[in-house]
């Protein structure tokens, strides 16, 4: 009798609710991406310019010796393909994370954040959705690159998938951490200059690190400490069905650290989270 006075309320969430939520977020991100053809095209043009123009020009300048995971001499285009795949993810991660924190998506972020599921989980889903979009871009790039004689073993297209998921999450989380915690980097130009370019050039994306070491031991160490180098190497090895354990450990570790940092730093009221005297967040 009196039990009817209170609507049954549950506490906590079931596993299926978590899964439904994740599916919904990824599905929406994919739908939106498919509606934004310009974004897709520009995401593809950037690496293709590097591949068609830069790599073709440098082919004669830079000789690549046989280094793992490659078993034969390779063309420069083949060498930089994994770096360009990581670059796609780097741009995508920074772009979607920036828009998540500051952009007009604020309205849509509100819809997301009033979901009753834990906020950390929602942000994780959002990062995963951004990663899913980067996968579409990377595979489209691989398809075009295939016609350009970049033909990794067929199984490589499958084995590279988990590596791409991990690197996509790491770069997305890094983007979110940076844009949520460093106010000066709230525009894309700042991020280009201070994050994307240094990360991309001080890595093994464009040149093998043994060559860098010959030129500048200092830069070599910088490159070794750059998580982007390890994302590139993880992708490079996985694309040829091999595993680079060091890179896996670095990328995995960085993903966890960046993600925890990003979730703690993310505050919809902008900037670093401001915790009031009584204000603990979920």
């Amino acid at each position: 009798m009196s039990s009817t006075t209170v609507t049954p309320e549950r506490s906590g969430f079931s596993v299926s609710e978590y899964i439904v939520c994740l599916n919904g977020i990824v599905w929406r991100e994919a739908l939106r991406f498919l509606h934004q053809r310009e974004r897709f095209v520009s995401a593809l043009v950037r690496p293709l310019v590097w591949l068609f123009i830069f790599a073709a020009g440098f082919r004669q300048v830079l000789g690549i010796s046989i280094i793992p995971p490659y078993e034969t001499y390779i063309l420069y285009e083949v060498y930089i393909a994994p770096g360009l795949m990581a670059m796609i993810q780097l741009f995508n991660g920074m772009q979607s994370s920036l828009s998540m924190v500051y952009d007009r998506e604020m309205g849509n972020m509100r819809t997301l954040l009033v979901s009753p599921l834990p906020r950390g989980y929602l942000l994780f889903c959002k990062l995963l959705a951004g990663t899913a979009v980067s996968l579409l871009q990377v595979y489209a790039f691989l398809l075009i690159a295939w016609f350009w004689d970049i033909t990794p073993p067929t199984i490589g297209y499958l084995t590279v998938l988990p590596a791409l998921v991990l690197s996509g999450l790491m770069l997305g989380a890094l983007g979110m951490l940076i844009s949520a915690s460093i106010k000066q980097l709230e525009n894309f130009a700042g991020v280009m200059n201070f994050v994307i370019f240094p990360m991309f050039f001080a890595s093994s994306a464009l040149y093998p690190l043994w060559r860098v070491q010959e030129g500048s031991p200092m830069l070599y160490y910088v490159c070794q400490c750059n998580p982007f180098t390890h994302a590139v190497e993880l992708i490079r090895f996985a694309l040829y069905g091999k595993m680079n354990w060091v890179s896996l450990a670095v990328v995995g570790g960085c993903t966890v650290v960046f993600m925890i940092g990003a979730i703690l730093a993310y505050d919809p009221s902008r900037g670093l989270v401001r915790r009031g005297p009584g204000g603990g967040e979920a």
Partner: protein, 271 residues
């Protein structure tokens, strides 16, 4: 059914214990909030009862949106306490948010997605399975008279239709408290009246507690509860007639001007 039972239970057995006690849909207790040195809310206190319409009246910059951001957990609470049906928004945000539907002032629909897609996304965020979500989406679209537009892009809707869709979306997970932040801004007179009627119906027919933030005086009716917010301070709270009487005024308009000391109104509705 439930609302009636609750009413009977609370009347017939006043000492029936905490089960029968009617929890306020929303209670705001001593809430203050600052942006750096600027104080946006100062010691705000009020409640919204189930099946009631509470108008939160204030000019632009009064602190309405800050309050909404706090209630919806977008901002962390600095001082005070906010409860939704007894659930503290800081301590048990999941339970609190489950019982709450929100319509924000800026449009938060995906313009390039269809009406149904927008609704399905919201349902997923609340963990509602795809099959159930489809049923509910069809149902709410029917209720707001947009069933035949289910697959159109939201971009093609009028302002009033978008608002109705947002309200329908906010009700998809069947909340018992509905918050609307300046829901009629930018709409023509007819669309405004429609939205307001629709929300008032939800109060009487479904027993939903509504907090309606506005700066438009003509949206408030005699039976409403009123909260007057000005420069972050709550100047009055209570049934509209009492607020007007306490201010020694004849109507809301004058009462508001007396309370706030503002000489001119920016709250004239567009005509």
């Amino acid at each position: 059914m439930t609302a009636t039972d609750a009413h009977i239970a609370s009347q017939s057995s006043p000492d029936a214990g905490p089960v029968a006690a009617v929890q306020p849909a929303l209670s705001i207790g001593n809430v203050s909030h600052s942006y750096g040195p600027r104080r946006a809310l100062i010691d705000v206190n009020f409640t919204v009862q189930p099946a009631s319409f509470t108008a939160l009246l204030g000019l632009n910059g009064a602190g309405k949106s800050t309050l909404f951001s706090l209630v919806t957990r977008l901002f962390g609470i600095q001082n005070g306490q906010i409860k939704i049906f007894g659930h503290d928004i800081s301590r048990t945000p999941g339970e609190a948010l489950r019982l709450m539907g929100v319509v924000f002032q800026p449009r938060t629909l995906d313009l390039d997605l269809s009406l149904t897609q927008n609704l399905l996304y919201h349902a997923a965020l609340h963990g509602i399975s795809r099959r159930e979500a489809r049923l509910r989406s069809a149902e709410v679209l029917g209720r707001i008279g947009l069933a035949d537009r289910a697959t159109s892009k939201v971009r093609d809707l009028s302002g009033g239709q978008m608002r109705r869709l947002e309200i329908a979306r906010a009700l998809l997970h069947r909340p018992r408290l509905l918050l609307l932040d300046e829901a009629t801004v930018g709409l023509d007179v007819k669309a405004r009246a429609d939205i307001l009627d629709h929300v008032r119906q939800l109060v009487t027919e479904q027993g939903i507690g509504v907090l309606w933030a506005t700066h438009l005086f003509d949206e408030i009716m005699p039976g409403d509860d009123l909260v007057v917010l000005h420069q972050g301070r709550m100047l009055a709270h209570g049934p509209m007639s009492r607020v007007i009487a306490d201010a020694g005024a004849q109507d809301v308009n004058t009462a508001f001007m007396r309370l706030t000391g503002t000489a001119t109104l920016t709250g004239k509705p567009p005509t």
